[in-house]
Structure formats: C-alpha cells, structure tokens
Amino acid sequence: MLNYVWLGLIVIALIVAAVNGNMADVGKEAVNMSKTAVDISIGLIGIMALWLGVMRIAEEAGLIKLLARIIRPITSRLFPDVPSEHPAMGAMIMNIAANWLGLGNAATPLGIKAMEELQTLNPQKDTATNAMVLFLTLNTASITLIPATMIGVRVATGSQDPFGIIFTTIFASATATVVGVITAILLGKLPMFKNSDPMYAPSQQSTETE
C-alpha cells in the first residue's frame, strides 16, 4: 500500500505543479526535505544511544521481562503471536507509557527497541508481522494526556482558556487509539493481509480454533 501512497504523492505533485506553474518549488522542496530527513536521523543518534544503553541494562537486570509479566493479561490478547514473557512486551509497554506521558524523545528509542525485539520473532525479515502493525498503530494513534505544544501556542496567542483542549485532546486521541487497534486487528484477518502474514504458515491452520 505504501507503494501506491508514495507514488501517488509524487505523481500528484508533478501534475498539480504543472497546472499551478510552481514546478521549481516542488524540485526545491524534494531536495530540502531529503536534507531534513538526514538531519533528523543524525539528530537521533545521541538520544538513541542513551536510551538503548539504559534499555540494555534494564534487559540484563530482568526488568523488561518483569514488566512484560505484569501486563501479560492485556498484551496476550492484543499480541497473540508474541510469547507473553518476551522482551518485546516489556519494550512495547515502556514505549507506550513514554508516549502517554508526552515524553516523545524517550518514546522513539524505546519504540525502536521494541521493533527490534519483534523482528527477532519474525521469520520474514522484510515483511511486517501483525504484532508490528498493531504496535505501530498504537504509536501513530497514541493517547495524548497533555498536549504541551498546543497549550504553548494557545498561551502565546492570548487564550483565556489554554488548558481547555486537554479533555478534547484526550477524547480525540483515545478514540483514534481504540479505532486504530480494532482496525489493525480486523485488517490482519482479511485474506489479502492474512496471506502475507509472516507468522501464518499452512501448518498453523489446523491449530487455529477460531
């Protein structure tokens, strides 16, 4: 699907720019954003090293397994393909907690750690598993408890009620999370996505009780 979205974005850009007569901007922006992409990636190195270092300690100390065990009642339902005491579970819960608290800088390295753990369970290394898709959805549609950036903008623009958006933001982001989780699980059951599931081998069919 990313194939279509990606090609769609650039083809539409070319056609619209031809009509609008701003082709030069499109070319310039492609170059600029490529540079931005590298800046963002390089900028991640330090924070990534910091958290991956701390996470390695947490792993060695058995802390991640402990976390995984605590949240097992929820995660074993959401992620049936991941063994309930696998380190991936612990890394995922730390990422989700960081997201909810608005600790974006910590959330990304923790999420990447979780992805690496999920990848160790993946028999087909270039294809996303259902667990990966669901985990990604939990990140793209994460619950926001404190919309700090927006509160800042509202204060700066002279709002009488800068915090008035906290409840509406929690409501909207929680709705996105719930709908996203349900969608990810249901789409994973569609034949077209089920057939491409790396964890779905014909031998598993007979053991499925659903």
Binding site: T140, A141, S159, T183, F193
Partner: protein, 181 residues
C-alpha cells in the same frame, strides 16, 4: 482542578526521564549487572539504527515535501469540503486535518495560523488545537519504526494508521462541537 491536574502532569513529565535514567542502572547494579559495560554495549546500536533510518525517511519526507509544495492540498480541500460541511466540520480546518498524518511541523504551522486568525478561544481555535493533538504523524512514525528494522513490506500498517487518524479528527470535530460549537 485544571491547574492541579496541569501541575501534576508537569511534575510527572519532569521526573519521569531522570528517574528512569537513574533508577534502571541502580536496579541493574543491585541485580549484579555490570552497568557501565552493559550501557556501552547497548548504546553502540544507536548510530547504526539512526543510519538505517535515513533511506526510509528520505523517501517519505521528500514525497510529502513535493506534495505540499505543489499546492495539491488546496485541490483536495476543494473536493472534500462539501462532504465535511455536512458533519459540521468547517472548511478552514481541512488543510490541518489532511496535513496531520503527513507532517507534524506542517500541521503546526497551519494550526498556529488558524489560531491567530480566528482566535484561540473560537470554535475553530479549539478544533484546530484538538486536531493537532489527536494523533501522531503517521508517515513519520512508519518510516522511522519500520526503517530501523528494514521492513519494506508494510502490509496493513498504512491503512490502519490512516483510519485511526480519520477517527481522531472526526472525534475532535464531535467533541468540540459538543463543548464549544
């Protein structure tokens, strides 16, 4: 009540990171982990992962940049606004809604402009603020997380992410209409 909640959340976010950064090594030390050596081993991966992400992020961000620069967004807004008008979603916030999954900084720019024009405490001001916080930047998260482990076949991830984005935006319209409309 709002003030107390805000102070509490501020304290949580101030303390959470330092507590984790110190608490985890202390716990590890108590469990007999060689904390310094182990930290270095883990931290070594940081560079490698950041470099791995680059091609994925270049692909996504360049395409989104081209799309934005072409002005294609205006056409989409024009096409969709008759439908979104029916659910009480003002046409003014449509660019913010469409931009949300594509670009965080792009959305922030649009939302800030809307708040300045209409006032932060207007219906559009509340709605635009809520839309910004309703979801993350789906395509950025996708590029970074899948890029870090070299996943190229993303299966239903884009679809699930976009459905969640749409749900977040409709929920924002619903709750803002109810409270501020």
């Amino acid at each position: 009540m709002g003030e107390l909640f805000k102070n509490l959340m501020q304290a949580v976010s101030d303390w959470a990171i330092p507590l984790m950064l110190v608490g985890i090594p202390v716990y590890g030390f108590a469990r007999g982990v060689k904390v310094y050596e182990t930290f270095i081993e883990g931290a070594k991966e940081g560079f490698e992962i950041a470099v791995k992400i680059i091609p994925y992020l270049v692909a996504i961000l360049a395409a989104i940049g081209m799309f934005r620069a072409s002005g294609a967004m205006d056409i989409f807004v024009h096409l969709v606004s008759p439908i979104t008008n029916l659910i009480g979603m003002p046409a003014e916030v449509l660019p913010a809604a469409f931009m949300r999954p594509l670009s965080g900084s792009g959305t922030l720019g649009i939302v800030t402009e809307l708040i300045k024009t209409h006032g932060p405490d207007s219906f559009i001001g509340y709605l635009a603020s809520t839309i910004y916080g309703s979801t993350e930047t789906t395509f950025y998260v996708l590029a970074v997380y899948f890029g870090a482990v070299n996943i190229k076949k993303t299966r239903h991830a884009v679809a699930a992410g976009l459905v969640a984005d749409a749900a977040g935006i409709f929920a924002a319209v619903f709750i803002c209409r109810l409270l501020f409309g």
